[in-house]
């Protein structure tokens, strides 16, 4: 019978190098965790401060009434909340189809000069200050219509959504492996069907992330609405009339000299954040329903 030699124990290999590796490993872990905490801190701090300042003025009247005239206490931002929802709805109707459409174009047919131009334009548009977009829409829509309108506000925000959605859609579609496209083409499924029902479907969750990013970004925009939706102290659901929006209302109230308005501005900011978080969460839940379990 062969001699039963003991396996080299792990302990014997624990030289200086082992302890050094262990130290580096732990250090790296601690650093990444610290980074994560550092990123979360301002987020949590802002939210906590918003709750602290805003929750006091948050009551039923705030959620259901329109603003009171200067000098009167109370009133609310109900018209601004509805206005924001309408403007963002218009923006999404414009931005989502355009963004997804051009993203598909870039990903599936994007290796020639025109596509390069589209890509470059999208990147430039992404960097254009929002107030510039507002002025552009002011001259293109507001001056033509001869008055401020909720529709113009939606157009401005919609334009701002396009580049983000275009580029994320492109990136997500390019991540779909080519063998998946070929599998579909190989079944005799036409190219356009393949793109929509196979490629886009495979990339759905990523594309939706892009849409949500764009949505959340424009939802808080104030500058482009100053020259377009303009704001409104009264109920107005007409798309061709000036329309209230939460960021505008917050802006007007925050720079006012009245303490009551300041409190309402804080409450408005809190509501705005909650609405954005709510919308993003709702879309996430709704879209994950349709997915198959176990799919990555």
């Amino acid at each position: 019978m062969p001699e039963n030699r003991s396996q080299p124990s792990l302990a014997s290999s624990r030289g200086l190098r082992y302890w050094w590796r262990l130290l580096v490993d732990r250090l790296a872990t601690v650093i990444t965790v610290l980074c994560a905490i550092l990123v979360l801190t301002p987020l949590v701090a802002i939210f906590a401060y918003l709750v602290y300042r805003g929750v006091g003025a948050l009551n039923w009247a705030f959620l259901t009434q329109t603003p009171k005239p200067v000098g009167e206490l109370g009133g609310g931002m109900a018209n601004a909340m509805v206005g924001s929802a309408i403007i963002l709805g218009i923006a999404s109707l414009i931005g989502v189809p355009l963004g997804i459409g051009s993203g598909i174009f870039l990903a599936e047919h994007g290796n020639h000069r025109f596509a390069q131009l589209v890509r470059f334009t999208a990147d430039v548009l992404n960097g254009v200050p929002s107030i510039v977009t507002g002025i552009a829409v002011y001259s293109l829509v507001v001056l033509q219509q001869k008055h401020f309108s909720g529709f113009a506000g939606g157009v401005a925000l919609g334009i701002m959504m396009v580049p983000t959605i275009t580029r994320t859609t492109e990136e997500m579609l390019l991540m779909v492996p080519n063998v998946v496209r070929e599998a579909s083409l190989g079944l005799g499924i036409p190219r356009w069907r393949t793109t929509i029902s196979v490629v886009l479907r495979t990339a759905t969750s990523g594309v939706i992330t892009g849409i949500m990013l764009a949505f959340a970004r424009v939802a808080g925009e104030t500058a482009p609405l100053l020259f377009t939706a303009f704001g409104n102290q009264f109920w107005s659901l007409k798309l061709n009339q000036p329309m209230a929006a939460l960021p505008l209302q917050i802006y007007v109230y925050a720079i006012s000299p009245f303490d009551d308005w300041h409190r309402q501005a804080w409450a408005g900011a809190l509501v705005l954040i909650l609405l954005i978080v709510g919308a993003v969460a709702a879309v996430r839940v709704a879209t994950s329903r349709g997915m198959v379990r176990g799919a990555a």
Partner: protein
């Protein structure tokens, strides 16, 4: 029933590089034809020309004739999608549609071409999965489980079922076992043997034993040329060309 296929003087290019030179061969109905050869010899490109998938690669080009049951698939006004419905394909790496259930994977070829009859679709899905010898393993969860959650061998059989569901006449298989373990490989080989009763099969393989096990006819490709094409036992036991002999006896490649 399968139909015969013939290639006549087929040439193919990737951009300026010619990768196939004047290939002519007949693939008999309800027989298995294997294509063997070293890497880069053009065997994959060749079978991708048989269902017009080659031309979907940017810069790729084909010249020559390929007939399926007598009609030229490169003929004027023949739509590529029609050809691909008649000539199905199974790829090297299992490629189920990742976000679709097992059921939707198999039904995709019909559903996405506008087929709406649910009852009939259910039957076709079940029959295709049975033909691919996968039904018994997945029948309880065809609609719940994602195609991507199956094992590699099961995924490849799913891809076979998906190809069969559109009722092709020819089934092309591009190294269908190269990503699979030996047990899954032997299952697929048994399947190929079964499938030739109903379909004409063309299979590309790296593995010469596999070719000798499953194929009735074998073609040997080298550097874009077809060196030899004959009955399988003849290619392996008494090849006419010295290069074929060197390859099948393992002297190169």
């Amino acid at each position: 029933m399968g139909v015969g296929m013939e290639a006549r003087d087929l040439n193919a290019w990737f951009g300026p590089a010619q990768v196939l030179h004047g290939i002519s061969m007949d693939m008999a109905a309800n027989q298995v034809t294997a294509i063997i050869g070293p890497s880069g010899c053009g065997k994959s490109t060749f079978i991708r020309c048989l269902n017009r998938l080659h031309e979907t690669v940017p810069g790729a080009r084909v010249e020559g004739k390929v007939k399926v049951g007598g009609s030229d698939i490169y003929g004027r006004s023949v739509p590529a999608v029609e050809v691909r419905r008649r000539v199905g394909m199974v790829f090297q790496k299992p490629n189920p549609f990742p976000t679709m259930s097992i059921y939707d994977n198999v039904a995709a070829g019909l559903k996405l071409n506008g087929f709406r009859n649910r009852r009939e679709l259910d039957q076709i899905v079940e029959r295709s999965l049975c033909q691919a010898a996968l039904w018994d393993e997945v029948k309880d969860q065809v609609k719940k489980k994602s195609g991507a959650s199956l094992s590699g061998g099961q995924q490849q059989r799913l891809c076979i079922a998906r190809a069969l569901a559109v009722a092709p006449e020819v089934l092309l298989m591009d190294e269908p076992c190269s990503a699979l373990d030996p047990i899954s490989t032997s299952k697929i080989e048994e399947l190929v043997f079964e499938l030739k009763k109903d379909y004409t099969v063309v299979i590309v393989t790296h593995n010469m034993q596999q070719a000798s096990r499953v194929a009735d006819f074998t073609g040997f490709f080298l550097l874009g040329y077809m060196v030899e094409f004959d009955r399988t036992e003849r290619v392996f036991t008494n090849p006419a060309d010295k290069r074929t002999e060197d390859y099948v006896t393992g002297r190169f490649g």
